[in-house]
Assembly symmetry: C2
Homo-oligomer: 399 residues x 2
């Protein structure tokens, strides 16, 4: 039996009409000798609504309870989708992350999948049932419900595809694949037919939301091809898979991340800095682009954080200000713009020319970091859209 | 460690303000050497909203998927309540029916608790945590999520109280205990300070919604005292427990059930009647007051059903009409009124006088059934309220 895993994002299951349409779509791929596993997200904005509900009760809700709350969203979708499939005469069963054997660590809100034991999924497929899975959730070895962070349903889909040795994994959303830039910001963004795991991960890690970075990592490890497609506008697709990169293509995409905060820390105490890092770790705030200097007795550090998805950031920021007072400065309203490509630092031409173009157009540059796959530039959020378009025009449209 | 189990119904946790008030109430009973287990229902009308959602997708949703959907309601409440407790500095943890070890049969939508394995609850109590439990749900031996039917959170509370050997079980709702009649219909309904398990079960089985009948059965088996109280108006309470009934007290309560359908069946085929019973069983429709006659070759049967809580009754009724055509007649809009007491059939005085009073007031009587604990009378729903008041005045207010 060949197995296909499909994943439908929140906008694809946002209302009853769409859920019925998805059921119809699924009924068209079910046939003898094909096992179909469907991973669903919470309906539309449900997850955000739950976060708002929690905020009505507490500014700083316990992470474990947050996971208990959030995980119900996908359960609502999956049971409704099974009802819709049943109406079409398709035999199906909904399974929670736990019932699917998605075992995670106990880092609540942002758990990592450590093992998948899909015995129940296999049993139900063997009974010719479509298996509908609640994405975004797993169960820790302590038998508590966990969630996998933003985009976690992608991870569920790819992790299951890997564990089931699936033929392929299809990720459906409201965008028909991966573009050289966000089409809502860049008019001439180019659709990409094919992209490697490495390239996709670089894009996802730097702000592209079309596919989750941990999901791509799973696909890479098990060599599962991902097909990113539009749910309701079939035709185009992007295939993410392993392929020889050939000659260096230079910059092929421009991605961005908003709501970046630059953190400046000055202190005479190294312990104080270590404490700060621990506080951020406990708050599950990832730090990027750390610079750390000692001038005599004075320790000076700067780094970037993007806590926009952390529902309890407000409380944490307040606490950090109380603890570190004048030692700590938050500079807000930055964005990062990242040029993604290969061999970008083999010489400095991409860096030098990008800087020149931005400067000529009066874009203020507040920081730069480079790797072989990426050049990231820190700008004011007001100048982000213009910066993206300038870089995209120069490196992609004019090439 | 003494253990207290509290249960809060849907109206007690209907919004964020109420959830915070409940957290405050709980914080007042937590102390050293007292383990507190709190069972919660879904917020306000959530369960009904889920049923409406399902109806948007399917007239006849699979029962298993319905349970998956409905069980999320209590999970939302329990996680929010833990967040509110955390705000007050009370250490707590939410547990699903499955995590509490509430093992049921696989009769989805109306499952019976067959065993409780509360190891996780005991572990968390030993860590001095308040354990907040999602009521109304369990897990079948097939490891599927089940729900326990209307009022099922009461069953969760009493079943846990029994398994944990709790000191007592407190059931909080918007009514301060059990009355001799529904206070919203009968002005002079009498508050009952104390009532036996047997009496309470008789009331619950015949329409009183203040306590679930299966819950009272559990309490009786394990001799757990139930305290029925008002959440937000403390003071009064009704204790349900074992006590010697003393001399017969006659009628002590008048309860009722609405939306009763009288089913008439006439056929030449006994197989046809057996099929009908099987159809109703598959639809989980309980039949009451069966009368069955054979006149020569003609089989004639009548019985009562009250499918108001069966979300898929509409579809089932349609199917039954298609199958049995002229053999089957549904007469709708009846109500039953039941006088509850002890030794009611030791002679016929209660029956004769009740009939007389109702007749004198032009109440049409469509059926009567009697046991030692109960006299039930079938009336038109329009005449129900008047009938209740007439009987209550005669047997309770004037005694």
């Amino acid at each position: 039996m060949q197995i296909i895993v499909q994943k439908y994002g929140g906008s694809s299951v946002a209302d009853f009409v769409k859920i019925k349409l998805i059921a119809k779509k699924i009924s068209e791929v079910t046939k003898k000798d094909t096992g179909v596993v469907v991973v669903v997200s919470a309906m539309g904005k449900t997850t955000n609504q739950f976060i708002e509900m929690a905020k009505n009760i507490s500014e700083n809700p316990p992470r474990r309870e947050m996971d208990m709350l959030l995980s119900t969203g996908e359960r609502i979708t999956m049971s409704l989708l099974c009802m819709a499939l049943n109406e079409l005469g398709i035999d199906s069963i909904s399974l929670t992350g736990s019932q699917c054997g998605i075992i995670t660590d106990d880092r609540h809100n942002n758990a990592r999948v450590i093992e998948v034991r899909p015995f129940r999924v296999q049993d139900e497929l063997a009974k010719n049932k479509v298996v509908v899975v609640g994405g975004f959730q797993g169960v820790s070895y302590k038998r508590d419900i966990t969630t996998l962070g933003r985009g976690g349903s992608d991870t569920t889909a790819v992790a299951l595809a890997a564990a089931l040795n699936a033929e392929r994994c299809e990720i459906y959303s409201d965008i028909d694949g991966v573009y050289s830039a966000d089409p809502s910001l860049v008019e001439n963004a180019k659709h990409l037919k094919e992209i490697s795991y490495q390239q996709m991960q670089e894009m996802s890690s730097n702000g592209a939301v079309v596919l989750n970075s941990q999901a791509v990592q799973f696909a890479k490890e098990k060599n599962i091809a991902i097909y990113a497609r539009s749910t309701f506008k079939p035709g185009n697709e992007t295939v993410v898979r392993n392929f020889p990169s050939g000659k260096s293509k230079g910059v092929f995409a421009v991605v961005y991340e908003n709501n970046i905060i630059k953190v400046l820390f000055n202190s005479k105490s190294e312990k104080s800095f270590n404490d700060l890092l621990n506080n951020l770790e406990q708050g599950q705030i990832q730090i990027k682009e750390l610079n750390y200097y000692l001038f005599g007795n004075n320790l000076s550090a700067s780094f970037l954080i993007s806590p926009k998805d952390h529902y309890n950031w407000g409380k944490l920021e307040h606490n950090l200000r109380e603890i570190y007072k004048d030692e700590l400065i938050f500079e807000k309203d930055y964005s990062t713009l990242s040029l993604i490509g290969e061999g970008l630092n083999k010489d400095n031409t991409v860096l030098i020319e990008s800087k020149k173009i931005l400067r000529e157009n009066k874009i203020n540059i507040f920081g730069i970091s480079t790797t072989s796959y990426r050049i990231s530039i820190l700008v004011n959020k007001e100048q982000l859209e213009q910066s993206i378009n300038l870089c995209h025009k120069n490196w992609i449209e004019n090439e």
